[in-house]
């Protein structure tokens, strides 16, 4: 039997009411009281990204890009005469933390969310968006499910997707390396790894016959354990296989470890070409002179968009704020998400969720990579795919960009099929 005294009861109820009043636990009353409305003095936009943990090297640049965007927009007078207010939450790249963060932000009257480094975080937040009556623009998460079987109208993707990026890479490989027809992959054993490989293989099978007249020979990919610190057996498997070209979608620190350990096996002598799906400058900055030559996918490369005023101003400010002269593309994606919200708020005149959704659908707006259009059917943005060839170098940066390719997004984008899984 539970012994409840009057004092305990009153104490418990008082604490509960006090906590609910702070908005820490969302309640119907606090939710209504804090819902975004025209009475607010600012338009709130909420960044949920990995500022700590394994995704921090991607999340921190997003924060920089978001802050710069808000600063630039407010310096030009804000939106509809109101300034933007940036709220930030650390998701730690964990779905549970991310959903709590989303609820917290909505509880504070912020219904315009963006960020999400990992696909699992994006999928978790997207699932509760209708319930929260909020929107989410993802700035990195690459799961195809977000615009396919898990799509809902509250979700938007500001970046390219794996179908676009990996097929653009496959097309480039057919054009530049027509004699490399035997391909293999080293992919992490999770959603992102499998999706990127499927899209790349799909691209190889389409573009090699089309461009070279030869069917590629695509080996079964080598699945690496997520979070592994030893890739030796995976590398040994790659060395004993017939593949000459390798697609790698292992990312961040694991990619650095993989390439470090691969060197001793002579992997870079065997591989005629290596393609890194999405690591931007992460591996290059870590390995510096030891970085092998490879093609890498990116969201934005400042060097490829010189003359684009938004890109130039963004780059200058990033260097000023961070001192980093080789910023990564995640800066631009968060920057673009804020620009998207600003354009939608200007168009709709309100931050009401349904109005913002309507304003975002079909919206074309200028960004650091040129104009982007958000497709109305599945909320996938049509933007260019950015690829560059990197190599380690004995210079201050430790690496150099040898070549850049910009592939038009509309040339490689998937047909919109919201609600249906893509069949690759």
């Amino acid at each position: 039997m539970v012994d409840i005294t009057r004092r305990k009861f009153l104490t418990t109820v008082s604490i509960g009411a006090g906590v609910a009043a702070t908005g820490f636990i969302p309640s119907p009353f606090t939710g209504l009281a804090r819902a975004a409305g025209e009475g607010d003095e600012t338009y709130k936009v909420g960044l949920i990204t990995a500022l700590s943990g394994s995704g921090a090297s991607l999340g921190q640049p997003m924060l920089v890009g978001a802050k710069i965007a808000v600063e630039q927009i407010n310096a030009s007078g804000g939106v509809n005469g109101k300034p933007l207010e940036l709220l930030v939450r650390d998701s730690r790249a964990k779905p549970a933390d991310a959903t709590v963060a989303a609820r917290e932000l909505v509880g504070e009257g912020c219904n315009l969310l963006f960020g999400a480094v990992s696909s699992s975080v994006a999928l978790a937040i997207t699932g509760i968006l209708p319930q929260l009556n909020a929107t989410l623009i993802t700035c990195a998460a690459h799961s195809m499910k977000l615009t396919k079987e898990n799509f809902n109208k509250h979700y938007f993707r500001i970046t390219d997707n794996p179908y676009m990026r990996e097929r653009a890479i496959a097309k480039l490989m057919a054009e530049e390396y027509p004699s490399v027809t035997k391909w293999g992959g080293l992919i992490p054993d999770h959603e992102y790894g499998r999706t990127t490989w499927s899209a790349f293989k799909h691209g190889l099978n389409e573009y090699y016959p089309q461009i070279t007249g030869v069917d590629p020979s695509v080996a079964r990919p080598i699945l690496t354990q997520y979070g592994a610190s030893d890739f030796r057996n995976y590398i040994a498997s790659a060395m004993t296989g017939p593949s000459e070209g390798f697609f790698v979608s292992v990312y961040a620190g694991e990619a650095v470890t993989l390439f470090q350990q691969a060197k001793a096996y002579g992997f870079f002598s065997k591989a005629k070409v290596i393609v890194d799906s999405a690591n931007e400058f992460i591996v290059a900055k870590a390995m510096r002179e030891e970085m092998p030559e490879m093609w890498v996918g990116s969201h934005w490369y400042y060097g490829a968009f010189e003359g684009n005023e938004i890109s130039d101003r963004l780059y200058e400010r990033v260097v000023e704020v961070t001192g980093d002269k080789t910023p990564m593309g995640f800066v631009s994606e968060a920057h673009s998400a804020v620009l998207a919200y600003a354009a939608a708020l200007e168009k709709s005149g309100t931050s009401d969720t349904q109005s913002v959704i309507s304003a975002l659908e079909g919206l074309t707006f200028e960004t650091a990579t040129g104009p982007r259009t958000i497709r109305a059917e599945d909320h996938q943005t049509i933007k260019p795919v950015v690829l560059y060839k990197l190599r380690g170098a004995n210079n201050a940066d430790g690496f150099e960009v040898l070549e850049t390719r910009i592939v038009k997004g509309e040339d490689v984008i998937d047909p919109p099929t919201p609600g249906k899984a893509i069949n690759l």
Binding site: L223, D230, N233, S237, K263
Partner: protein, 295 residues
């Protein structure tokens, strides 16, 4: 076929010795203080970063001697940190329930991660292996990277040094006595608190040394502390908690299981480590080598 097995076994041993280097200090602290030091990986990480900074000063080709020297320096730095951690934290955990020890040492790990972020940032770094260890040998059809051989050699050396120290040296036998019966040792004039501190410092120094030796094995990031710790805990539990020989045997066994599993059942990467632990503990819940105290 034989060369394939040989390569897989060799890679398994490399993994095993890397994990043993991490587990050695961990099992030492648990054997004496009965504290599961969750922050062990964090201090290994600090050792790796210290080595990285020292090697960066050389600004060029790193020799094997300087690589080992940097690792030793990392060990010294972390050993000193261990002294303060013992005085400020671990001493206060004596006699405290294990759950609280875990929480306290986990908090220490978070401090390590925060400190690394503040000092070195969140970006990934790497330490290239010395030129002399960057190549490979080819023997009987088995391809053996030199750096992997170095890691195996270091693991065996750490084991032999620890085992000889614990079993054959006077101080090692004193440490075993203090682990078995600190009260009686105190009555016999052994300064048990000083022994505890010495063991903690040695354990932390091993962590720092391990970080330095393994710096070229993987990327450096504030997450490095967590990379090996689960495997290290698995090894010391399977080996018999507080048992150096058990930890060595367990790391070899688990390393081979993981390696063969990765290659011959590639559809399920990473699962064999946990399956092996469950299987072993079902038949030997006390661990592979059942022995009281530290040995």
């Amino acid at each position: 076929m034989l060369s394939d097995f040989g390569l897989v076994a060799f890679n398994g041993l490399a993994w095993a010795m890397a994990v043993f280097i991490v587990a050695a200090g961990l099992t030492l602290v648990f054997g004496i203080l009965h504290v599961l030091n969750f922050s062990h990986g964090g201090f290994l990480m600090i050792g790796a970063y210290v080595s990285h900074d020292l090697l960066s000063l050389l600004d060029g080709d790193v020799s094997t001697i300087s690589y080992i020297g940097a690792a030793l320096a990392g060990g010294v730095v972390v050993g000193v940190l261990g002294y303060f951690v013992d005085r400020l934290v671990l001493r206060r955990l004596k006699g405290v329930e294990e759950a609280y020890s875990l929480i306290a040492t986990y908090a220490l790990l978070l401090l390590c991660v925060g400190a690394v972020k503040m000092i070195w940032g969140v970006n990934f770094m790497s330490v290239p292996a010395p030129e002399a260890l960057s190549g490979a040998l080819f023997y009987q059809g088995v391809f053996m990277p030199t750096y992997s051989m170095f890691v195996i050699g270091c693991g065996v050396a750490v084991f032999l040094l620890l085992d000889i120290w614990i079993r054959r040296s006077r101080t090692g036998k004193l440490v075993q006595s203090v682990a078995a019966d600190p009260w009686m040792c105190g009555l016999l004039g052994v300064n048990a608190p000083a022994m505890y501190t010495a063991v903690v410092v040695i354990s932390f120094a091993l962590a720092g040394l391990g970080g330095g030796l393994l710096a070229a094995n993987q990327s450096l990031s504030p997450e490095l502390g967590g990379h090996y710790i689960i495997q290290a805990f698995g090894v010391i539990i399977v080996g018999g908690i507080g048992n150096i020989r058990g930890a060595f045997l367990a790391s070899v066994l688990l390393g081979l299981v993981v390696s063969f599993g990765t290659v011959y059942v590639p559809e399920y990467p990473g699962i064999f480590f946990y399956l092996a632990i469950v299987a072993i503990l079902m038949f030997r819940p006390e661990g592979l080598i059942k022995q009281k105290g530290l040995a």
